[in-house]
Symmetry: C2
Subunit: 429 residues, 2 copies
Amino acid sequence: MNTNIDVNQMGLCQMLRAIDEGVCTTEALINACFDRIDARELEVGAWQVQRSREEYLAAYRAQQDFYDASLLKGLPLGVKDIIDTEEMLTEMGSPIHAGRQPIEDASCVALLRAAGGIVLGKTVTTEFAYFKPGKTKNPADLSRTPGGSSSGSAAAIADDMVPMALGSQTAASVIRPAAYCGAIGYVGSRGEFSLRGGQPLAQSLDSLGLFARQIEDVQLLRAILLRQPASIAPASAQLPSCVLLCRGESVGEVSPEMQVATEKAVVLLQAQGVKVIELDAGERIKEMVTHHINIMAWEVCRNLVMESFHKEQLSGPLAALIEQGLSMDRATYVASLAAVESGREWLWSFAPEADAILTPAAPGIAPLGHEATGAPHMSRPWQAMGLPVINVPGMVDDNGVPLGLQLVGKARQDDTLLTYASGLMPLFV
Amino acid sequence: MNTNIDVNQMGLCQMLRAIDEGVCTTEALINACFDRIDARELEVGAWQVQRSREEYLAAYRAQQDFYDASLLKGLPLGVKDIIDTEEMLTEMGSPIHAGRQPIEDASCVALLRAAGGIVLGKTVTTEFAYFKPGKTKNPADLSRTPGGSSSGSAAAIADDMVPMALGSQTAASVIRPAAYCGAIGYVGSRGEFSLRGGQPLAQSLDSLGLFARQIEDVQLLRAILLRQPASIAPASAQLPSCVLLCRGESVGEVSPEMQVATEKAVVLLQAQGVKVIELDAGERIKEMVTHHINIMAWEVCRNLVMESFHKEQLSGPLAALIEQGLSMDRATYVASLAAVESGREWLWSFAPEADAILTPAAPGIAPLGHEATGAPHMSRPWQAMGLPVINVPGMVDDNGVPLGLQLVGKARQDDTLLTYASGLMPLFV
């Protein structure tokens, strides 16, 4: 059996079903993950901290009865390095926290661990989940950024190194790297998951995120994180009957190839009988981008307190964001909060029959180079409104570089959104 | 100079002005706090962990230039023991976390420390800020509960041990102990303050709280926590022109003496020309109590993850809450979230001219005994709606035991609320 190829092709639930059916062993799958990492990590750079194969297998074998009886069987999990882990450093991509060893697992890590996941390592994050990149390269094209801030988690999933990874999004930190790398990335509705032990950046914006290879994997991980009945059986898929189309131009700059991909998606959906309504938003969605920036600037400098006292150890963009927040008038912040809240109602009143919004997940393909992580504006409006979002991969440009489209759901209707994403994804691949 | 009497009578800003004016020294005020603690702590039991006088003075003197130039001058701060402190244990009132030493300060602690506050100690919390009491007794009547969960912070302020203390509220954990002990307790609008490093209980409900002796002290501390210009000059006071009166019976059980206090407050306000409109809410406020419980139960078991795996070390009520959350249907939780959100609009549409809501802060005086912390229902509706609230002390029953009334403001209009509380408080004292 060529386990490398199997892992390349299998999602988490597929792996778990294969174990159940005796098609392959857990150890073979673990080894396949490490084989892939051994072959690719020097180039991709997805990992900040990493267990060795020997340590991993020893941990698995030491509690093999537990793992064999568990839901996740001891399969490997990647954890973004701003999420605390009790047995690995959590350094948040900043020299300020070099060597920082948390005393506890974040609640999301504790739940996945209890379900039988094993933390293979911490994935690279940008500095405090903001802009300054880590070492990660885009596995779809190593000359390009993987996007950020959950750079390592997106790359590890897209490059088939692990079948599940945790991330977080305050602006575009899950959807953008998922779009650039060609992975599934899901951001929960605001407040949906416990963020205990995840380092906060902006309390009105932070959401937990998940990366996986199949939508059913996201559904499984979501169920575990919500302590709901979880199943590895194939999940049902369904197309939305109506989507609201938000063309990139209503949000901000968008590339010609993304315009083509969006148009192609519309044609594919209409061919399936899905009604597509244009979101003729005027300037209001663009204004949400500004409101998001205001909220983020105000809150970041009130969360990164100790860090703000060490500006000489911060990147220029983060120091500037903190300065923006400190000099901001409180009325601006409160007005942006109010605008975002009223936007949540306005958005769906525009087309009450719409099941979800379809819109570019990023302005285009991943930019060349590794000095920046690309523009976040395509995510800011939905993140400001606290809506659940999923990047649906599959589209590519003429050179095969990923182009992501995102599906935005109604607040707290994450399960419905994931069902629609299951219906949509086969059309794009 | 009898520093004990001075401290008994002085709020934080009064102390700071006295230092500025050369009326007394910082060390005299620090010593007065320790004198009071030495005299009373054995009976009151406000402190979980405490610096000794010698340690405190050594810390102060080691950086005296910094403190003398600072806003808070090195005066003592109490920190609820679910808020992380890098130099003191944070045990959350639970044997599960005995000896737990955080690696970092919570952001609120870092900000007050940077402003020149010194953490005198950690104040007693109930188990994970829920129901199971710690050792604290009510300083106004030692035979009674201080209320919870911020029991130690409320008692330390009411008993004049420190001039400022941090707490938190998920149900009634600031307002109830403030009402029972006769302290000012303020709960910020949801999302108002960073909760980084404060242990989360329920993400849709948790708020930071402050305890102090004067409203101007709350205003000062709030400004520091928001990194806004802060002043120790006396703040302006203003009565609301119109209050919405929510009689205790619309929320739940209320004692005859609280009914009398509420009526007395109405008469006092009307005598000042304040318009009082009865909130004729039918059952809707009572329903908010149920929605609050649903939201809390769902979220607590998804935050206290590791703890839920050690049920044998949890109190009966907390284990039951976790059980309730684990067996709850998700639709119930989502419906309660929606009910609460629509309630936020409904509440003020009822009387758009109202500046604030006046309502009992607790069902009555603090109950006798120390096995429980009293009923939280009077706070649940406002907390569920994420509104800023302040307990305005001053009223007492025939035996001099405190009766608290709370003023509830509009979301994110905390500054306005505090101004009204400044106007109101002199009427009650």
